[in-house]
């Protein structure tokens, strides 16, 4: 789950990482009053998208009047298709230096990874590899002060600023661990008025650790309504924008099914890994979700391993009889008891195939025929 900048900064502040003075607004009404107190400001749209500055999502104002107008403008715009509902108004910094600092994980090395660079303030993807300092962290000992000192040395920092940046690193690592973060990023980490502070904040926390999140981790909804319903049912679902609704069991086989649909000249409406569930209820719910996205046809690809094909077939038949399915339905069914399953489905007029290529060719043909 990605957190908004203002949420990340609230967490930073609570964990001793200095951030600029600022306040969150949902309307421009009280912005002027706040700016009168703190002087020139940066007004930052709160959207979960990178490259916000370039897309016009950050504006500056030097007086209360200007701040109110710019706040109103921002709250009326879309940034990369995302509506701006919240703005963060922060004191404008006189920046002397911009650094990059992040803690994430290295999947291949199975360890936390600290990334730092003296070339902050730009998208990290654009920073040359040789300007980045990467350091794996032994999770048993965590980030120790000596390691932070060494990184600040490599960053070319000296004196008081080196101490402050090292301290921010240590606190950032503690925050990374405390909040089960996947990524926690400060870009830029600035030196302004001879003080180091987090001018921006990005944080992604691990959904799988939600059971131990305290009240200080807010909830952010990233899913569409349909994705949310699927999640409630324990179905792994991603909305796409193609033609054919897809249900399969297993992430890999679902991905491979989507690839085949593309290969055969159509496009998938979704990714749906319905898992091993073969019950009538689970199948019905999954089909309901698929139909709600109005695909031109449906493809179900089941590899019955532990799950028996005849049981899956019965569930599909029952669902088809109770639900009004207007679009063509093609099923590929293979595995334990496949003959019984296929015979049952054929009796009920449902197209069934053993071979995945035949099933995909058929469902794509249906869509093409309809389009013609």
């Amino acid at each position: 789950m990605k957190l908004y900048e203002y949420m990340a900064k609230e967490i930073f502040r609570n964990n001793g990482i200095p951030v600029p003075k600022g306040r969150v607004f949902t309307s421009s009404d009280e912005v002027a009053e706040f700016v009168a107190q703190i002087g020139p400001v940066a007004i930052k749209s709160q959207v979960l998208s990178g490259g916000r500055g370039k897309a016009g999502g950050i504006k500056f104002a030097s007086d209360p009047q200007e701040a109110r107008e710019k706040a109103r403008e921002l709250l009326a715009t879309d940034i990369k298709g995302l509506k701006v509902d919240i703005i963060l108004v922060e004191q404008k910094l006189s920046i002397e230096k911009e650094l990059y600092l992040a803690i994430t994980y290295d999947g291949a090395r199975r360890k936390p990874l600290l990334i730092a660079s003296a070339a902050g303030g730009v998208e990290i993807e654009q920073v040359a590899e040789e300007l980045m300092i990467k350091r794996l962290i032994d999770i048993n000992i965590g980030l120790q002060p000596y390691a932070a000192r060494e990184i600040t040395r490599q960053l070319g920092l000296k004196g008081q600023i080196a101490k402050e940046v090292a301290d921010i690193m240590l606190k950032l690592y503690q925050t990374f661990r405390k909040y089960d973060a996947e990524l926690i990023e400060i870009n830029p980490l600035v030196v302004a008025d001879s003080q180091a502070l987090a001018a921006d904040g990005k944080m992604t926390v691990d959904d799988d650790a939600a059971f131990r999140f305290g009240k200080d981790v807010p909830l952010v909804e990233e899913k569409t309504a349909v994705e949310k319903r699927a999640a409630e049912l324990g179905i792994s679902y991603v909305e796409l924008d193609g033609e054919i609704g897809v249900m399969a069991n297993g992430a890999g086989i679902t991905m491979a099914t989507l690839d085949l649909i593309n290969e055969f000249g159509s496009s998938p409406r979704n990714f749906m890994d319905a898992g091993g569930g073969s019950s009538k209820e689970a199948t019905a719910s999954a089909l309901e979700i698929l139909l709600s996205t109005q695909p031109k046809a449906l493809l179900i690809n089941i590899f019955g391993g532990i799950t028996r094909c005849d049981v899956v077939a019965k569930a599909i038949i029952q669902v088809k009889e109770t639900m009004d399915i207007q679009v063509p339905l093609v099923i590929r069914l293979v595995g334990t008891n496949e003959e019984a399953g296929i015979a049952l489905l054929r009796e009920h007029g449902i197209e069934t195939y053993r071979k995945i290529d035949e099933a995909v060719a058929k469902v794509v043909a249906f869509v093409k025929a309809k389009g013609a």
Binding site: I139, D180, D208, A209, R212, A251, G252, N262, G305
Partner: protein, 297 residues
Amino acid sequence: MAIIINETTKILVQGITGKQGQFHTSQMLASGSKVIGGISPGKGGQLVHGVPIYDTVEEAMLAEKAEASVIFVPAKQVKDCAFEAMDGGIKTLVIITEHVPLHDAMEIMAFAESKQVQIVGPNTFGLISPSKSKIGIMPNSIFIPGSVGVVARSGTLSYEIVSQLTNAGIGQSTVVGLGGDRVVGLSFIDVLAQFEADPETKAVVLVGEIGGNAEEEASVFIKTMSKPVIAFLAGKSAPPGKRMGHAGAIIERGKGTYDSKVVALKAAGAYVAALPWEVSDLVKQALTEETIPSQSI
């Protein structure tokens, strides 16, 4: 021979009294696995499918020493159970559970490294050396013994490909599921190295998917292998930034794309199947080519 597990491997099941634990214990026993004990705190002394239950791993290990353990407990209890197994002397640990928190997985892997434990998973179907031993949840019927090793990130896609091999009469030495999570124990390279060293294995099928750089890293090792590697990858059509079911299956910041993996694998000399049903033919082709001396002066 086979890799990691064979007919002598003694196995514990942690979480044996749960629905999954019970069912898959019966399936493992049916496939010939030596399940010698189950762990379920508070239920010590009972039996599940004739397998004695213990309250703790230490108690089980006192009764009879096991080499391997498989974890079926809910995600939030996995870390504790994994530590318990490793502290108790287990050397091969299979974590079936999905949705293990990332930080827990990193802590588990760090402990495994210090204890020199091989971890398979989390979020894996497990592993099987057909007709010898199975530690996992895959259907027994699709596997036959033979000389092709299979290593995969995904479950049902592996079943699909293994069935195809079996239908074509190509048996498997060992089939290993690495797990679909971002941080897992054994990597492609760990398993490829064991297949390379296993005299019974003649070729290896690698089933990968988008996300991360595991396939790219594996390519570096494949280049050094004497045995042919045949790869199939899922996720060619996946849009960037979307997590395709597996936590690890996501194209982030332009990394982990299908093309990058295919390019790396081909450059390393692997056969890459563009479509899933091409795998068995490529295996046959690779095995035929291998028997012909490739160098002559």
